[in-house]
Symmetry: D3
Subunit: 191 residues, 6 copies
């Protein structure tokens, strides 16, 4: 059994930096990003509930907390690699699954194998919780870009800021609309 492996891998996310190849004033680790996404997802979830939608909190937290754990096994493949073409996207995803199966799951007994496969690869699906995760991930990236932009680190973070903002503006989640209308203007001034 190798639950110890899982814990040690999770700890490796402290060592892996976000946006690896670009200079940043405030570089977060993947662990810090995961914490932040979970906090943002929690906030969006509260807003969805205030708006009358039903949130499965166990599912939402689980998705948010674990959405980047597989990076501990593959390293930080730059996101422009992932997002350049559909072919690239599939190649990177295939690598992520193969490596996680090979390095972690293969050594688990049956009791844990299914649970952890679900933890590692249950991500941005069409459920409310999957959609909240997707936009929480975007909002954290927007915040990272905003910090850099406000500190004068414009290239490439100014461009990326507006690029990710457009993704948020395409969301029909009520919580994302509230974020854009009520919270972001405040953040833009004070981040």
């Amino acid at each position: 059994m190798s639950i110890a492996d899982y814990l040690l891998s999770v700890k490796k996310l402290n060592n892996i930096g976000r946006w690896a190849s670009d200079f940043m004033h405030r570089r977060a680790s993947v662990a810090e990003h995961s914490f932040s996404v979970a906090q943002i997802a929690q906030l969006l979830g509260i807003m969805e509930e205030n708006a009358g939608n039903k949130v499965d909190w166990g599912r939402l937290y689980k998705k948010a907390l674990n959405h980047d754990v597989s990076e501990a096994f593959t390293g930080d493949i730059l996101s422009h690699v992932k997002h350049r073409t559909e072919k690239m996207k599939h190649m990177v995803e295939e690598i992520e699954v193969l490596i996680a199966e090979d390095m972690l799951l293969s050594s688990f007994n049956e009791q844990y194998k299914e649970v952890f496969r679900d933890i590692l690869f249950d991500g941005k699906d069409a459920t409310l919780e999957g959609r909240i995760l997707k936009y929480a991930d975007n909002i954290d990236a927007v915040l990272e870009c905003l910090y850099e932009k406000n500190l004068g680190n414009k290239s490439p973070f100014e461009e990326k800021y507006y690029e990710i903002l457009r993704k948020l503006e395409g969301s029909d989640l009520v919580s994302v609309k509230i974020f854009l209308r009520d919270i972001l203007p405040d953040l833009e001034k004070r981040a």
Copy 2:
């Protein structure tokens, strides 16, 4: 309204280091610690369920994710201050509540005030989830000490390692017993 304040405070946990006044090879931020505690709590929760216990996942994740958020408002008061005497403990807790009320909650409208008071101060109670949080927090501290100990940073981390270990050995949670018996020996060799 100041939800933006909450987000910016959460982000400050990236800047605050654990065990502030001691030299560490692998210092984690409070954000990284919070992520790690949530991962460990998730692991203990899976084990409790395997053992037939019922886990309220929404509650468990919420407790784990938010248990140190109030440090963003008070700064890093050294834990030996907190734990020296009962009087000290109460003084520090009183400071934490007063500051959080004053800096954050006072500016919230009623809709959010209760939700966030619960998020900030619903911690290590007597529920199964509260007890899992307590020991997950200890297990992360054990892991931090273990890394330092294995890297030769003995003072004060060797002593602290055994001190926290004794707390874990006092637990009657089945998941903590499994951790001590099956996982820790593996971690001791490979961390």
Copy 3:
């Protein structure tokens, strides 16, 4: 005897950062701040002497060098905690004295106990040297804020800069007046 404890505690001030929870481009350790405050106090002292005032140099240096040593025992309690209300201020000061007595002074023999109690807690009193220390501490904070402000790190350092400046403008020390009139404008351009 535990003079060794005192030295090891002093060395811990290298690990404790100033303004812990805010992002800074140029974060100084408490040790670096203490060095800087002693240098600034020396400068103000020279100016006071040039203006005909008598400076007790042994006392001035001693106050400046040791004014934050007690932070090695308590950790970095955020200054807004200390300064929010009179009640908070007293609670934090009480914690500082209790912890220093308990962790350091209690183990000293009588020969050293009085000497070190004086070193740790003889601070910003009404003597000329006590007042120079008070404003040297402010001037170093102004310099820290100025560096951040000039590097574009405006939140919260721009606001803090003017806030601390107002404290300096309230001083009737001739050296502080010279600093504000002759030195600060030069620093503002070139820091």
Copy 4:
């Protein structure tokens, strides 16, 4: 034209760390590693010449200096991903070529396109210079592992040290034999 892109990409190698997901005391950037490999290749080349072999110095330096430049475009894909299976190796290499073509070379005019394709992808071939590069790359990795091993950072660097050593022992280059016999024992004591 985008020679500027090339320069800015080269500078990004300062931001990308080696062995990204493992904790290291002395983490080098990919730029530092490239410098080091070029220095080691130079040393092996001198030894090959002393042994009567002809070295094409222009080719050797060019191979060594540029062998990891393409990582600026793909990010730090962990080497265990690259080396796990032949299939993985091919997938990663395909990604590296596609991304470099797409991000850099496509925008070059014909005059530069061929020159830079050669710079980016002329690596560890069967020429003497290609073989020197291969082992210089290994020797730098051995040195990195040796530093960590000697500093007590055993997991995973002790195991990797012996693993890469075995690769060096499989070399029939006279310079590598001299390195193993005359230089490594000295390094083991003093690194």
Copy 5:
């Protein structure tokens, strides 16, 4: 024999920072600077060849790669010390030669002594390759200043930027002219 000494000294260039006493957002190590200068020299060399000039590539790479290795023996003497007066320049150069002879070369056998003396001290002479090195060194300094300038770190990097630019404008190398005309404007916008 002490080839091991040479390698360990080269590795020390990872620890020595450029522009030591000034605050920098993006401080490079001397190793990173050496890598960068070699890359820039390679680029200028390609342009010289395109313009019909003959480049001795082995010599060019050798000069670029090794031009700051002697700093591993002397430490980072601030460049304003070196460049203040002719007398200072000679004193520093004399120190560099004396120390390298004493710490490294004296222990080499004859076979290596001449080779390494050439590697350490064959620098910015009047050959095409020596002149390319000189301007590649300037261009890397310009890039370092440009990054700081664009990030708002103006003192002293804005002044130094224009100061070094004037040196480049004094060059009659065709490659430097191309750099100033075609590449720098692009870098100024995007660095």
Copy 6:
């Protein structure tokens, strides 16, 4: 007038690291070292007074606080350069005086020129205070080496530890004897 220059130079000591070219786990800045030397000198001074010797506290603090300020003007010339031969020592000292005169003192008016020349160059003379400074400087270096040695960073810090220890053992100051007999053994166990 350029008192501002003096302050900005003092602040540069935060950027300059001790033992620049060697890897250290706990590298202190020159500012932190200066603070530490002043604290150690204070301790030795207390012991000298306890032993009945008269200490000029103003002079002792002034010497300790300012003994390395001139490094802000020259950069970190490695100490082995300074200490290799008498000739080297004189060359480096000449450089330090020339640069400080040229960069700082030349711009002062008469009122400050003499005061600051005294501050910068009144060091390790034969007075009790000058001798305390000399050994306080050694004791801080011993502490730095001890931390590295205890953390397993043996090369070169183990050798240097014993080398500097022998200097301390050559002292006839009563305070240094007390340090060696009563305090160092405690530090060796717990640093």
